[in-house]
């Protein structure tokens, strides 16, 4: 049953590669498969098959199996992926209008969907590793999808660098866990007594998860991931790759708590969220602004997990899936209407009082954390969980303010006075396959408020979940968000909006992604220097060996020169040798 979920997209991928190629049908078949998956997941929600184990192969008594389970968290993740996939694919049908790119795009999306399905239900390291690496491959391919574009190339390379480190760490931690327990199942890790090796393994898993969820210092790939096609970026950031890291952290949360590793999460999450909002202030690209907002949200989730507040983290997890995807799809529609321009100061926003604009408002209000949408509940819960830690608490309020400011900037600048709406017609002519997914997502973003009511019962894990929102945190958070809205209105909702790029010194401080890149270039340069040294050594070794061979052949030539036909030399050598032999014989 669970296998069908994974196999269906793979079959579709094979079908596209062999039969459909770039035909229009590729999109429809993929969409149909994703709807089928959604139905299946809904069925599984009712009839949970429980833990399953399929033996993969066994060698001299050791058995490797593909273990899957549908615990609460797994089901939640699976459901989110299954819901998002058809929406994103429907949007893709309208968005990916260049026929020559179609086959490759849907092929890669199928790989992504299959690996994410497998990932959501993995319950041992083998399954985790397989799906994890498939996810890496999918992100590499999708981010570098427009390979003719140098920037997409660079982005794909950056993503793969972060991701390769993650793959290696997961592999290494699997080795350690196997060594400690002789088993690769997550359940065993919980049951068995604590073990120092496992602590190391868990630290490695944690770093790996941080690489995937774009946390400091591995966060640079995420804004660059925007170089891929818009729907795939929406899928990657809202419900698949970026969320996979957070999901893995949540899955392992009891283990991290047991080995006292949670403190790291709070620190890393705070740094990430802070960097994200500072970059967002300086950013003007409609896509990258959203990317930074996603990064900030991921940082908040990690902070919540660091406080062991699983419920708060999962509330944001659910809410973020819908509003991020919604905003990405809106941005895609806006860019399409503006001929792929992505600078918010230069493009023309949607006319006010259209459904598209209302959808945007829903998304932005939710991200900013304003009552009554889902973002408010999630962010206030995280605030409540953090309330005993004053520095982090204050930081959260600050982040709430800046994030709200940036999101409203994202919305206000394109629709400000003076942005002529001469392209009204273009917005009207957007195909249904683009607008319908946006409306569906807007509805889901509103409905995700219900998560606050139903998630506690669904997760049903007493003891872990810090539930509830304190009045103080709710008020503080709302004030920050509304202050952000006000500031944004003053700064941006006029004919001459404030533009950070014109204030270079401030821009340089806030837009610090460059520094991280310089750091990584330094690392790469160090590795290359080492490689150069090793290469020089290799050449030296080569010449040394040649030198040795030369010495042997010179020795040969020396011997050859002695046999030159001069009898006097031969005779004298013979006499000397004879005398020496006799002397030796006598002395002996």
């Amino acid at each position: 049953m669970l296998a069908i979920l994974v196999i269906t997209p793979l079959v579709v991928a094979a079908l596209i590669a062999m039969l459909l190629h770039d035909r229009r049908a590729a999109g429809y078949v993929t969409l149909a498969a994703s709807v089928l998956s959604l139905l299946l997941v809904l069925y599984l929600l009712v009839n949970n098959p429980g833990a399953q184990s399929v033996t993969w192969f066994s060698v001299s008594g050791f058995t490797f199996s593909i273990d899957t389970a549908l615990l609460q968290l797994n089901t939640l993740m699976l459901l989110l992926v299954a819901v998002m996939a058809p929406i994103v694919l429907l949007y893709s049908i309208g968005f990916m209008s260049v026929p020559s790119e179609r086959g490759r795009y849907y092929f890669e999306m199928c790989i992504l969907a299959a690996s994410m399905m497998l990932f959501s239900m993995s319950s041992n390291f083998i399954t985790l590793l397989i799906s994890w690496e498939l996810l890496s491959l999918a992100s590499y391919l999708l981010i570098g999808f427009w390979y003719r574009n140098e920037r997409a190339q660079g982005a794909a390379r950056k993503a793969i660098a972060a991701v390769l480190i993650g793959d290696l760490l997961i592999f290494a931690s699997m080795l350690l866990v196997w060594n400690a327990y002789g088993s690769l199942s997550f359940a065993t890790m919980l049951q068995q007594p604590a073990n120092p090796e496992v602590a190391v393994a868990l630290a490695l898993v944690m770093i790996a998860a941080l690489t995937k969820s774009a946390q400091f210092p591995f966060h640079e790939w995420l804004p660059d991931a925007m170089e891929g096609p818009m729907p795939s970026s929406a899928f990657i950031l809202s419900s698949t790759i970026a969320k996979a890291g957070v999901f893995l952290l949540a899955l392992m949360l009891p283990l991290f708590a047991r080995y006292d590793l949670l403190g790291i999460l709070v620190i890393v999450g705070s740094i990430t969220a802070l960097l994200a909002v500072s970059n967002a202030l300086a950013e003007n690209s409609i896509k990258r602004l959203l990317a930074y907002s996603t990064m900030e949200n991921l940082g908040l989730m990690v902070i919540a997990l660091g406080f062991n507040a699983l419920l708060a983290a999962m509330l944001l997890f659910v809410a973020q899936t819908f509003y991020t995807a919604l905003l990405f799809l809106c941005a895609g529609a806006i860019m399409r209407a503006n001929d792929h321009e992505d600078d918010i100061y230069r493009l023309h926003g949607t006319p006010i009082r259209t459904p598209l604009f209302i959808a945007m408002i829903i998304g932005v209000v939710s991200v900013a954390g304003i009552l009554p949408l889902a973002g408010f509940f999630a962010i206030s819960s995280i605030g409540t969980a953090a309330s005993f830690n004053m520095p982090v608490y204050l930081l959260l309020v600050l982040i709430g303010f800046v994030s709200s400011l940036c999101m409203f900037k994202w919305m206000f600048v394109p629709v400000r006075h003076g942005a002529r709406s001469e392209i009204k017609g273009v917005y009207g002519a957007l195909p249904k396959s683009i607008t319908v997914p946006i409306y569906v997502l807007a509805a889901l973003a509103v409905l995700s408020v219900l998560a606050y009511m139903y998630l506690p019962a669904f997760l049903g894990a007493p003891g872990i979940a810090v539930h509830g929102i304190s009045l103080e945190s709710a008020v503080l958070e709302s004030m920050a968000a509304i202050a952000g809205l006000g500031a944004a209105y003053v700064l941006y909702m006029n004919s001459k909006p404030y533009n950070m790029k014109l204030h270079l010194r401030l821009y340089a401080v806030l837009y610090n992604g460059v520094l991280v890149n310089i750091f990584y270039q330094g690392v790469a340069r160090a590795v290359m220097a080492l490689s150069r040294a090793v290469c020089a050594f290799d050449r030296a070794l080569y010449s040394f060996m040649r030198g040795m061979a030369g010495a042997v052949s010179r020795f040969g030539s020396m011997l050859r020169v002695m046999i030159d036909g001069r009898e006097d030399v031969y005779v004298s050598v013979f006499v000397i040798a004879a005398i020496a032999a006799i002397v030796l014989f006598v002395v002996w």
């Binding site: 993969w56 397989i130 590499y140 570098g144 140098e150 290696l168 080795l175 590795v527 090793v534």
Partner: protein, 469 residues
């Protein structure tokens, strides 16, 4: 029981003679038929073994009775797996390994000669046979580089020959020592395995050293690897495929035998593992500075050989890990060299930096190369993953966290391959213009190798099940 091995040797020999006698327009057909027959025979043997539940094909004919040397073959699970790998590689090499279609007669003759060597070596029942077939392999590989190679082939082939002769001398020395120190003076591998413990430890250490260094040269392992880059870069496409796909695996097979035969070898396991790690990481670091596409493949497969040696040095399940990795490495290296050779043929260019946008004109080849690179770094669902998984599990078990240091090698190789492929072949089109065409047999070759890589990567128990019985 049918005499499968003699039959395979016989029809390879017949093919060799037919190629010699008939005109050159038939030679490719003959070579392909011979390799295909070999593949069919190995599949038949596999099928019989799976039905019977165990692998055991033995043949023995009197040869030099006074020295108790027989013309004997013994195919166990290990040999069968390696035969399967070699037959697939040989088939693809003879089918599509010559995109230039240059000197078909000579190349087919050498492939058939090499086929005889591969069949005999992997199924040999005694060390005498092992050495004979090893030497045939060296000769045919030498000629393949020397006669069919590119401009700098003279130096490369002589280099290769000197190293391999040296290795051969050491191996022969080791074999002779074993012969004279076993109670019954025997070359028989099974006999040696059960009686090696009676050899005194000092002699055993000497034997180990001789054989180890010999096989180390052949694999190759740092610091004995210097013949490898030249040989690969200068050999023809077929030559590189067979060299890295099968010939270096001869030595890896020898290593496996060595570690199974001599009890003393477990004493040196830690040193061997350290050397293997150094070799793997070293070659990965050297790789980072390469831009010749064939040298890139050469150094990345050398990193793989380092990890295989790591697997040989650890025990039990990893022995099957090493075996599986050898299987995988053979197929993968052959695929990579085939793709590299085709790219070189299509664009007349082997500097990867100048191959910008190769994907536009040579899509399938570039994707085959990419898939090969994935398999080489142990991507899940390929054979490489299963091999590395088993090797590293056991290495960590045997040597603690140090066993995992060699993971740096696949990391570096993977990073470099992803980076270079994405910034050259998968980028927008540069000055790379296609100057040659490749035939449909090339695509068939990719398909066959990729099919085996993924089939046995997804269903590894087909092969690992053989080991259990």
């Amino acid at each position: 029981m049918l005499p499968f091995i003699s039959a395979m040797l016989a029809f390879s020999a017949v093919a060799l003679m037919l190629t010699l006698v008939l005109s050159k327009k038939h030679s490719r057909g003959i070579a392909v038929t011979a390799a295909f027959l070999m593949l069919l025979t190995t599949i038949a043997m596999l099928y019989i073994s799976v039905l019977a539940g165990h692998v055991g094909f033995t043949e023995s004919y009197a040869y030099i009775s006074s020295l108790m040397i027989t013309f004997g073959f013994n195919v166990g699970a290990v040999s069968l797996i390696l035969l399967l790998m070699s037959s697939a590689v040989l088939l693809v090499a003879s089918l599509s390994g010559n995109p230039e279609r240059s000197r078909p007669k000579t190349s087919c003759l050498l492939i058939e000669l090499f086929q005889i060597s591969a069949i005999g070596l992997f199924s040999s029942a005694n060390l005498f046979m092992f050495f004979i077939f090893w030497s045939i392999g060296v000769v045919s590989m030498f000629l393949m580089i020397n006669v069919l190679g590119s401009s700098n082939r003279m130096r490369a082939s002589i280099n290769f020959l000197i190293y391999e002769l040296f290795a051969g001398a050491l191996i022969l020395f080791g074999i002779m020592l074993i012969y004279f120190h076993t109670p019954l003076r025997s070359f028989d591998i099974q006999y040696i395995i059960s009686n090696a413990s009676s050899i005194n430890p000092t002699t055993q250490a000497l034997i180990f050293l001789a054989l180890f260094v010999g096989f180390m040269i052949g694999m190759p392992i740092f610091p004995m690897h210097l013949w490898l880059p030249d040989a690969h870069a200068e050999a023809s496409t077929q030559g590189s495929m067979l060299l890295s796909g099968i010939f270096t695996q001869f030595s890896a097979f020898g290593m496996l035998l060595l570690f199974t035969m001599l009890p003393v070898s477990s004493k040196y396991a830690a040193y061997v593992a350290a050397l293997a790690t150094v070799s793997a990481v070293y070659s990965a670091l050297v790789l980072l500075r390469q831009s010749d596409i064939k040298r890139i493949v050469a150094y990345s497969s050398m990193a793989g050989m380092g990890i295989i040696l790591l697997g040989c040095s650890a025990s039990s399940i990893s022995t099957s890990g090493a075996l599986f990795a050898i299987f995988s490495q053979g197929l993968t290296a052959a695929l990579l060299f085939l793709a590299a050779g085709s790219i070189k043929h299509i664009f007349g260019e082997h500097d990867i930096r100048l191959l910008k946008g190769a994907v536009v004109d040579a899509g399938p080849t570039v994707y085959a190369f990419l898939a090969g690179a994935l398999a080489l770094v142990g991507f899940p669902l390929t054979t490489g993953f299963v091999g590395y998984l088993l090797i590293f599990l056991e290495a960590v078990h045997a040597f603690g966290a140090y066993g995992a240091v060699a993971l740096l090698a696949p990391l570096l190789v993977g990073a470099y391959l992803y980076f270079t492929i994405s910034s050259s072949m998968l980028s927008s089109k540069g000055h790379s213009d296609s100057v040659g065409l490749i035939g449909s047999t090339q695509y068939l070759g990719y398909a066959l190798l990729l099919l085996s890589i993924f089939l046995f990567g997804i269903l590894p128990y087909i092969l690992l099940g053989l080991l259990k019985t």
